[in-house]
């Protein structure tokens, strides 16, 4: 598969820096920033549900200006290191850029993307908590879930014509979108997402997980496994939150993952128990974004 040229990678990195965030989080940040007594945990919960804000915040915090002894992978960590008010103002600076349009010329459904990212994030966290054997941080799994498809937003936003063709190709030929992207664009969203987080000095295990999230044959970490299974589970029929435009095809789990999680997707989802809270929370955030925009 072709790789992204360093020039294109830089162009996309710069563009993402100026990219608006999702409507619901922008609305909430603007509200919270007017409230002198805004509860910090609410601020955290808004930022960590928005892939754009999370990307940007971790990018700035992990930049060379602070040279933290370890990479920062959560909003809470960022608050402890750099201070609540500074994070609040950073979020506000992201919010005032505007909102990511619900409709884009690629015809890509941003609400569905957000819903999928949030559900995958929650499931990856839960999977890590339940099946983790090596001390992998559930927070890292959640972050990987939130950001794993970021490349799709980047395509929709900055390469809409090509991405539209890839979406059509995927629907017509009934192939997963990443295959269609490789056909049409020459590179898929997992590669673009990984290049971005690499260029933005995110931890390597995160970029590995994002890059390989459609290639289970390359897995060697809990993070990769949890992300992959969460990504698949989130498209499981029992959780199917939208019948329209579902181009993704749920893949069978490779035997190694069946062994690791003690069953196939149908069995894992039973083991996870009631997921209605996860769905409701994600829905509340993703759906209101539509309302917020009108």
């Amino acid at each position: 598969m072709a790789e992204l040229s360093s020039e294109l990678n830089k162009r996309l990195s710069d563009a993402v820096g100026k990219m608006p965030a999702f409507p619901k989080s922008v609305q909430r940040i603007l509200e919270l920033s007017r409230d002198l007594n805004c509860p910090p945990k609410e601020l955290v919960s808004v930022i960590e549900k928005d892939p754009v804000m999370t990307m940007k915040l971790l990018h700035i915090i992990n930049s060379a200006y602070y040279s933290f002894p370890k990479q920062i992978t959560s909003v809470n960590q960022a608050i402890v290191f750099i201070g609540l008010n500074t994070i609040k103002n950073m979020a506000l600076s992201f919010a005032v850029i505007g909102v990511l349009p619900q409709q884009n010329s690629a015809g890509y459904d941003m609400q569905r993307y957000l819903m999928h990212s949030l559900v995958t994030a929650s499931l990856a966290r839960i999977l890590c908590q339940k099946f983790n054997k090596d001390g992998t941080d559930p927070g890292d799994c959640s972050l990987a879930g939130l950001l794993h498809d970021f490349g799709k937003v980047v395509f929709a936003q900055f390469m809409p014509a090509e991405f539209k063709l890839a979406l059509s190709y995927s629907a017509e030929h009934k192939v997963p979108l990443h295959i269609a992207e490789q056909q049409i664009i020459g590179v898929d969203h997992s590669e673009v997402g990984a290049m971005l987080v690499e260029g933005w000095k995110f931890p390597k295990n995160l970029s590995y997980a994002i890059r390989s999230h459609h290639k289970p044959e390359f897995f060697n970490s809990t993070l990769q496994c949890c992300l992959y299974v969460a990504d698949q589970l989130s498209q499981h029929k029992s959780l199917n939150y939208s019948s329209s435009n579902n181009y993704e095809i749920v893949e069978e789990l490779p035997p190694a993952l069946v062994a690791r999680f003690g069953g196939n997707l149908d069995e894992i989802i039973v083991k996870l128990g009631d997921l209605s809270n996860v769905m409701a929370e994600a829905q509340a955030f993703a759906q209101t974004s539509k309302v917020a925009q009108t």
Partner: protein
């Protein structure tokens, strides 16, 4: 090394009959190293008085370390007369601000704009050199090394440790001990607490064994709950920090602007009495006081 306090008040200059003994100027601390390098910690209004004295010693080279960019730590800088006189060299060190995307150069640029100050930035005739510092990255000035540490305040705040020939000083600038943003039992509480603990240990390590710790003790324990999140410590939190770090002398500073000298001495004595300070010499910072270590 010599340490001299030129400003010990927090937030806003507070001149008047009730603050005469401890002084009303905002934060400025002079440090002279063993090889007579001039280090100035913050440029609050106290730096103006100091500048008058420095006029006798021109030309000077001054290393001004800014802990953070709030007014009470920068307001004296445009009145630091040596910046206007050719032949002087001023190095201004400070943190990168992620909101403005700028380093300490912005401290001068913002203050010396037409609406706020009669002299333009371009009219500073000394040599000015801005240095954006990073946590843990040591700055060497002759035999002295200065190490910044990120502390907790509503704007990015660096504490500075100054080491010179086996002697050391740590100045916090403004700092409030971290607190958990979750309630006990809530999701996230334990993880957040672990992060706080890790950060507390790293801050204590940064000031470990210093001869002199100068720390932000704005509030009393009673005042603190209504000021939580404002970014300042208490007398008690400073004493505990000094003890945890094995500091020898603690100077409590950043005195609350409405606190009279009498009240300051009273609340200070009460806080000291609450702790066993056998191995710690706790003092109130007072404008004009100087010590040699």
């Amino acid at each position: 090394m010599k340490i001299k306090f030129w400003g010990v008040r927090g937030s806003i200059p507070s001149p008047g009959p009730y603050t005469q003994r401890y002084g009303g100027n905002t934060t400025c601390i002079e440090v002279r190293t063993d090889d007579n390098e001039l280090i100035i910690l913050d440029g609050g209004t106290g730096i103006f008085t100091f500048a008058q004295q420095l006029l006798q010693e021109l030309p000077i080279t001054a290393h001004i370390f800014n802990t953070h960019s709030h007014w009470d730590h920068i307001q004296g800088l445009p009145f630091f007369i040596p910046i206007f006189i050719p032949g002087n060299t001023i190095h201004l060190y400070g943190a990168f601000d992620p909101i403005s995307g700028a380093g300490p150069e912005r401290i001068m640029n913002i203050q010396m704009q037409y609406s706020y100050f009669p002299v333009r930035e371009a009219e500073m005739r000394s040599r000015i050199h801005y240095v954006t510092v990073m946590p843990h990255e040591v700055i060497k000035i002759g035999a002295t090394s200065i190490t910044p540490t990120l502390l907790s305040h509503p704007v990015v705040n660096m504490g500075y440790r100054i080491n010179c020939n086996e002697k050391s000083i740590f100045f916090t600038g403004d700092h409030e001990p971290h607190y958990n943003i979750y309630e006990p039992g809530e999701d996230g509480f334990d993880d957040y607490q672990a992060l706080i603990e890790e950060q507390r240990l790293s801050i204590e390590a940064a000031m470990k064994g210093v001869d002199v710790l100068i720390a932000d003790s704005s509030y009393t324990l009673d005042e603190y709950p209504s000021k939580k999140g404002w970014g300042h410590g208490t007398f008690d939190s400073c004493i505990e920090l000094a003890q945890a770090a094995n500091a020898k002398i603690l100077y409590c500073t950043h005195h609350e602007p409405t606190r009279s000298d009498d009240d300051l001495e009273k609340v200070f004595a009460e806080a000291v009495a609450r702790h066993d300070c056998k191995n710690l010499d706790v003092r109130l910072a007072r404008e004009g006081d100087e010590i040699f270590i």
